[in-house]
Symmetry: C3
Subunit: 157 residues, 3 copies
Amino acid sequence: MSAEDQLRALGLELPSPPKPVASYVPAVQSGDLLFLSGILPMRDGKPAWTGKLGRELTVEQGAEAARLACLNALAVIKAHLGSLDRVARVVRLGGHVASAEGFTQQPAVINGASDLLVAVFGEAGRHARLALGAFELPLNAAIELELIVAVTSAARP
Amino acid sequence: MSAEDQLRALGLELPSPPKPVASYVPAVQSGDLLFLSGILPMRDGKPAWTGKLGRELTVEQGAEAARLACLNALAVIKAHLGSLDRVARVVRLGGHVASAEGFTQQPAVINGASDLLVAVFGEAGRHARLALGAFELPLNAAIELELIVAVTSAARP
Amino acid sequence: MSAEDQLRALGLELPSPPKPVASYVPAVQSGDLLFLSGILPMRDGKPAWTGKLGRELTVEQGAEAARLACLNALAVIKAHLGSLDRVARVVRLGGHVASAEGFTQQPAVINGASDLLVAVFGEAGRHARLALGAFELPLNAAIELELIVAVTSAARP
């Protein structure tokens, strides 16, 4: 099943892609690699999840925030490529988790994004991954994701 | 106007590129991509801006620090490629902002670097971007930048 | 001397590569670039070095942790490529150092990894590098590394 079909089968709707707010753009492609800008868990133009893991938010809430940020990332990819089916491989996901002192379960939080990538792209969604605890994030967001995907020139069958 | 011409038109002078101090080098090219080492806001061999945003430094000072770090990055690129005109595209900028607790305006700080890239490279300077709040940075620097640029084999006209 | 020979000459034994524990994989190759997942200083399935630099750990201990994490990275590369001799160039090393407030010697800590890369790969081991102070890291690890290497299709002689 194609990634676009899979998205529909999962009943997922992509949000509007976040708008560029400065001298940067949501994504830049160089060769086969598409580099995304940092992605927050945005809903209706503002972060839906703020605060820190281990203080304001539980691991489950953090994973939900990571999943929402990942949906925003998919929206950016689709806006840039026209279709998610042009993703050949998810190469690398970086997950920055706003963390209170002593919180060390960043991987469980970022699984919310990793699992969504595999649900949508199947084997092509398995990625190299970095999970880090951040001290502060823009707009007090709970999560910020970075993403690199490899792109095919033609759509996957 | 070429990037080198634009730099002159802006009246900007590049600092001496920071020297490698260990087993690493200022930049490594692989294929068309040039990966830079982390860049601090260096002047005369030491960080010109130290301390944390939201405590020792204002957003305006942070943006100035980001701009200075970006000038150091341009110096590294020029030392490596011979001319800034060999930059085909600024691909990705990562900005790490030393942040006091509760400081969440990292994007406004990193704009100091983003705006300079667009001033120098025009449309080719628009990049994917990540802004993060760091707990501590090397040498107590206020800012650390990471940068990936795409390189042309011949100079742009 | 090849990287594999050099490893033997240094008397170094690679640990078992860390196992994937979720929807992500230890490394993804795209074109000539191999992107590794975040690497902790693992020994026997758990982090051998925990806590923060500038509080529980000295710079020397941190450099030892960075060296151990780097050995884990080499194990991942070898498991993926079959031989370290297929590494054409170490492109970029990112080093995240769990830091107590006021600790700013991250570069000296990450030298433990950088020096090992040059000892094993020689000139091809010289890399672009980023050193950052992290607030919290997964499993309370003292160090997390990220790594990108360029790969040759045939083994280096």
